[in-house]
């Protein structure tokens, strides 16, 4: 994945991700604009905001799947990345077993032709145990429930063993016990010093478990420690943004004082 461009300056040493006036979107419409700041290594950040506020767009920019319209989004060159998208293009009718799905996480290590070794099979088995799917190894993926599939996808992230983990709304339509287990994994990753970014809608979860938060409403509303970001006042401001695209919307002029976050 092309995450760095030799022409651009590298990411600052202490940061895992650095944004500089990042604007990204679809066509000429920005889904997120004028985001500047950096995410330090080893932080656990929740990205919150109403529907259409640019959360997924931001995550796609970080993965490199979406190129910015202007500004930059730089990821530390030495950081490996694992991404769990919101709208997975996973084909659930594909004749694969749970282990086949989870073993995709070995791609960075083994690539196209590398043989899967005993240690790889062990890593897959360990990951399945960690997400509570022991005994599901040979189950076809079309027989999994929504929660079980999400656990399997978390197992794949575990196997990827990445420095930077991006999870886009991983708790949608998932029961409470599963959410508790998955939150446990996220906190474990945080404890291991990995940088984790999670798009979340449930503000109670954010307050309870996430030290840092970034509140988006197309532009950044607030970014910093969760207690200062997720406040009634900020949430009210975030709700007031205009979700629909307007063909007659004025062209964006640089704002005098953009929110600058250091998380």
């Amino acid at each position: 994945m092309p995450r760095t461009d030799p022409k651009k300056p590298p990411c600052p040493a202490d940061a895992c991700i650095a944004f500089e006036d990042l604007t990204a979107g679809y066509g000429s419409h920005a889904a997120i604009h004028h985001l500047s700041g950096k995410l330090e290594r080893g932080t656990l950040t929740a990205v919150v905001g109403p529907n259409g506020s640019g959360k997924s767009t931001l995550v796609k920019c970080i993965t490199g799947l979406l190129a910015p319209m202007s500004g930059t989004c730089r990821v530390a060159t030495d950081a490996s990345l694992a991404y769990l998208p919101q709208q997975s293009e996973l084909d659930r009718s594909f004749p694969a077993r749970v282990v086949d799905l989870v073993a995709l996480g070995l791609w960075r290590e083994r690539g196209l032709l590398g043989r899967h070794r005993a240690e790889d099979r062990r890593a897959v088995a360990d990951a399945l145990r960690a997400v509570g799917l022991e005994g599901f190894e040979t189950r076809p993926i079309d027989s999994l429930s929504g929660g079980q599939l999400q656990r399997a996808l978390f197992a794949r992230v575990l196997v990827q063993d990445a420095d930077l983990i991006l999870l886009d709304e991983p708790f949608n339509a998932i029961d409470e016990k599963t959410i508790r287990d998955l939150i446990g994994l996220i906190l474990h990753w945080h404890g291991e010093g990995r940088t984790v970014v999670v798009v979340v809608h449930d503000l109670d979860l954010v307050r309870a478990h996430f030290p840092q938060a970034l509140l988006l409403a197309r532009r950044p509303i607030a970014w910093g420690s969760t207690a200062e970001v997720v406040t009634p006042d900020n949430m009210r401001r975030a709700r007031q943004f205009q979700e629909a695209w307007d063909e007659k919307a004025p062209w964006c002029e640089p704002s005098p004082a953009p929110v600058r976050g250091v998380a």
Binding site: S88, D91, F94, L104
Partner: protein, 288 residues
């Protein structure tokens, strides 16, 4: 019984060649068909088989019923349509099914116009429906070559092919191979259609690709197993079709595809994942 099955192949060299060609084609085209089906691109295979017609026709107009020029022409036409449709799908909002339909329809029309400008309807029938009973050395070598290339590429790209079908977005997040694999795969589709059209004709060569793979889906739930089963079904259909053609004096291409169609129907009805099994009343179920 044995006489009816073995004797035709013992006695006639053209039957041996036909059998060799059909077996090689089964080995090569059936796994490609499995991946076409898993990627929900079975109809793309059908479209591509129409798309190679003008290339084959151009070779036919210039050199007559010769394998090499017709093959090269077919490859060129197939590549133009595959790349053109793929490029439109990747660069615009239009999905590949629509762009593929647009490209192949134009291609098919050009092909039919070219064949009808010159030549009789017998020639057109040759191009459209093939002549498996008249495979010459060149044609067999070509089919063998395509089979080798196909098997080697499939083994080499196996993991990426599976990943691209199972979770394309994930593959894009860890590797840049996705696009290359897609086009390499379309290349294999075109190669196998071109290899098949001398034997089965441009319109029916896709049948030996699609039907065995589609039938295999009713028996097993594992990609590798599906490939193996589909090759087996391809071989059985080839044998059955050639014998049917010999004994009933039917055109060989359609006879092979019809045999594959019968296997498909049987699989649809009797396979463990077919229509009848779930309809059977189940007296017992496990508690977990």
């Amino acid at each position: 019984m044995v006489d009816g099955v073995v004797a035709p192949f013992m006695e006639f060299a053209f039957m041996q060649r036909a059998l060799a060609g059909a077996l090689l084609l089964s080995l090569s085209a059936c796994p490609v068909g499995v991946f076409l089906m898993l990627r929900r691109m079975s109809l793309t295979g059908d479209a591509m088989s129409h798309a190679i017609l003008p290339g084959a026709a151009a070779g036919f107009m210039l050199y007559g019923l010769e394998i090499v020029p017709m093959t090269i022409g077919g490859l060129i036409a197939g590549a133009i349509v595959a790349l053109g449709a793929g490029a439109v799908a990747r660069l615009t909002v239009q999905k590949e099914d629509a762009s593929m339909a647009a490209f192949y329809l134009v291609s098919l029309a050009i092909g039919v116009v070219m064949v009808s400008l010159r030549g009789s309807s017998v020639d057109l029938m040759h191009v459209l429906f093939g002549t498996v009973l008249a495979l010459n050395d060149d044609a067999l070598w070509l089919i063998g070559l395509v089979a080798s290339v196909t098997l080697a590429t499939t083994v080499l790209l196996w993991r990426a092919l599976v990943a691209e079908c199972l979770d394309p977005l994930f593959l894009r997040s860890v590797s840049r191979l996705g696009g290359a694999v897609h086009f390499a795969f379309l290349g294999l589709v075109v190669l196998n259609l071109v290899a098949g059209f001398q034997a089965l004709g441009t319109l029916l060569s896709v049948g030996l690709m699609i039907l065995p793979g589609a039938a295999a889906r009713f028996w097993v739930n594992d990609v590798l197993a599906m490939c193996v089963v589909s090759v087996g079904i391809g071989i059985v259909s080839s044998l059955g079709g050639l014998l049917l053609s010999y004994h009933a004096s039917l055109p060989s291409g359609p006879a092979i595809i019809l045999s594959a169609g019968v296997v498909y129907l049987v699989s649809l009805l009797a396979g463990p994942r077919g229509v009848l099994r779930p309809a059977l009343p189940r007296r017992h179920h496990r508690t977990a």
